[in-house]
């Protein structure tokens, strides 16, 4: 397909054209898109008041709405308990039955992924900034605020400015102990936290084609840290195989045209790339891990969790390193699976035992220590090694606390040694 202005369409242009019922859209154009899936977590409690103030009395399509509580599960404060109750009541009143409540819970993005709620070609929105993760399905998935979500619940539509696109072409083979997390950290270091603001990020190239779905979730997740509206991988057999048994609605697979116009293309070669680490206080303050290892950075806490990296593959990899080892004295190691399903898998595979015997605390599934409002909160000047996605001041508690972002394997190696360490030395 070649557009009026003489070049092909990017993936985001194709999906937004489909969502808005147009043949072709161009960057800068404001379109009204039909939403395929809307997701709310605790912040969704704030949609209830504006929804009623708008005079809305019904949700446009209750089968396209998912509620997944995750930040404080089970409720750890009275305030959180109230948010949960507001959501339960609203769901009951408006017939929202896809509610992943305590017992079926998990981090909202993982709930959408593992239950097939977002499929190729979708326009998906969520009340959380890391909704970008679902772009790994070959969908436009993006975060919106609760007032905007109220409008989506009422109308099933939202306005969007068609973004320009940034292409990240990846080639090469990962070395042993080097992961998709290291890749996305490296890209962040290059294009920085504002490098993709208002833009769509498309990952492509032979290395991306070989990435598993969980790995694609990790790289799309952190396009949020680049400021991106959405981050995507065009669908292929990996996507279809993952979704075939679980897809909740029909897929509309779309691919960018070979002559699509990108605002910028970045080539990344992962051959010989070392593991990476994002140092305080920004996710784009990225350095090669071996350089940081040389500085002997002692830690107080390690966290293996979050929507970025707490899937079964991450926890298996971590458990393999942890086996017959101990958490370093003086280190608190928190491991939190991304969903209850993953928790159950860990239980069956002996992963909980491995971590617990090593002296880690294996928690129930939730956002856990990721955001500084639930558990695993840091005191001033403490240092944490984390597999999550943000290390801003105050992100995990005290504003002086220092957070280093890295791969799950690096977090485990660091928990064992008590200072920032390279997992390749333990393989």
């Amino acid at each position: 397909m070649t557009g009026a202005n003489g070049h092909g369409a990017t993936l985001v242009e194709k999906i937004l054209a489909r969502a808005s019922g147009l043949d072709r859209v161009v960057p800068g154009q404001i379109v009204e898109g039909q939403v395929d899936l809307a997701m709310m977590h605790e912040q969704g409690a704030q949609t209830v008041a504006p929804f009623h103030q708008m005079g809305a009395d019904r949700v446009w399509d209750p089968d396209r709405v998912v509620i997944a509580i995750d930040h404080w599960v089970p409720a750890s404060t009275e305030g959180a308990a109230v948010l949960h109750r507001i959501l339960r009541k609203f769901a009951a009143e408006t017939g929202l039955s896809h509610f992943y409540d305590v017992g079926q819970h998990g981090i909202c993005h993982q709930i959408l992924a593992e239950n097939g709620w977002v499929v190729p070609g979708d326009l998906a929105v969520g009340t959380d900034s890391h909704t970008n993760m679902l772009g790994a399905m070959g969908a436009v998935a993006t975060g919106i605020g609760p007032t905007e979500m109220a409008a989506v619940l009422a109308l099933g539509r939202l306005w969007l400015k068609v973004p320009t696109s940034l292409e990240i072409r990846v080639r090469g083979e990962f070395g042993k102990g080097v992961t998709a997390k290291d890749l996305v950290l490296r890209v962040l270091g290059e294009i920085r936290t504002t490098g993709a603001t208002y833009r769509s990020v498309e990952f492509s190239g032979p290395t991306v084609r070989r990435l598993s779905m969980p790995e694609r979730f990790t790289i799309c997740n952190m396009t949020t840290e680049m400021g991106a509206k959405t981050g995507m991988v065009a669908p292929d057999s990996a996507t279809f195989d993952y979704l075939a048994p679980i897809a909740k609605h029909a897929m509309h697979p779309l691919a960018p045209d070979p002559d699509a116009q990108y605002e910028r293309s970045v080539d990344v070669d992962v051959d010989g790339m070392p593991p990476m680490v994002a140092c305080p206080y920004s996710p784009d303050n990225v350095r090669p891990l071996p350089d940081v290892v040389r500085e002997h950075v002692k830690i107080d806490q390690a966290f293996l969790g979050s929507c970025t990296n707490a899937r079964i593959e991450d926890l298996r990899e971590g458990a393999a390193l942890m086996k017959d080892q101990k958490v370093a004295p003086g280190v608190r190691f928190i491991v939190s699976p991304a969903s209850t399903k993953i928790y159950e898998q860990c239980l069956r595979e002996g992963i909980i035992e491995t971590f617990t015997e090593a002296g880690a605390v294996f928690t129930n599934s939730s956002c856990s220590a990721c955001f500084g409002g639930n558990m695993g909160i840091l005191a001033p000047d403490e240092v944490c090694a984390s597999s999550s996605n943000r290390n801003f001041p105050g992100r995990m508690g005290a504003k002086e606390a220092r957070i280093y972002l890295m791969s799950p394997a690096a977090v485990v190696a660091t928990a064992i040694r008590g200072e920032i360490s390279d997992p390749r030395e333990m393989l």
Binding site: Q43, M54, I144, G145, T147
Partner: protein, 175 residues
């Protein structure tokens, strides 16, 4: 929304993310009156007590990055912030602010022409921000009509309310 917005300026740096505007520990607070006591606690601790309705925030690049928490612009609305002008915004904050009826204006170079406490004058449709003390100004591309309409309505809630009402009228249903 008025064509001309005037107010006293509070300046902020670059990359002021939403964790610095409203910290994660306050996210279970729904009441905006309660929230506003904690706004900018990390980035500008004297703001919550010192700010008054009509004050204008002038920030450097990438204002409001990070989480999608609407608590950040909500707390600003509770204070009565007249406008937020920044060299650039993170996308969700920008949408949230406009949806809540707070003029969010992207004006390249704006941070450099203001100091704390300066009087500012913003001409929305002409696309100009002026430091009334020094006379220096920067121009910006005015917001698209779609967004000006949202601000004129006082935010998204009011806009959708009118749309739904119109729809009911058209359908002949009693409203």
């Amino acid at each position: 929304m008025h064509e001309v917005i005037e107010g006293r300026v509070w300046t902020l740096g670059r990359d002021v993310d939403t964790d610095q505007i409203i910290s994660g520990k306050y996210l279970t607070i729904i009441d905006p009156e309660e929230l506003k006591k904690h706004v900018f606690e990390i980035a500008l601790p004297e703001f919550a007590k010192g700010a008054k309705a009509g004050d204008i925030i002038v920030a450097d690049e990438n204002f409001g990055s990070g989480s999608s928490r609407e608590h950040a612009p909500q707390a600003m609305r509770a204070i009565g912030v007249g406008a937020v002008v920044a060299d650039s915004f993170a996308r969700i904050f920008f949408r949230n602010a406009i949806n809540l009826g707070i003029p969010a204006i992207e004006a390249r170079g704006v941070r450099a022409i203001f100091e704390m406490g300066d009087p500012a004058r913003i001409e929305m449709r002409a696309g100009r921000v002026t430091n009334v003390r020094t006379g220096r100004l920067v121009e910006f591309p005015p917001l698209p009509p779609h967004l000006l309409e949202l601000l004129d309505a006082g935010g998204l809630v009011e806009k959708v309310r009118r749309d739904l009402e119109a729809r009911r009228h058209a359908a002949g249903a009693p409203s």
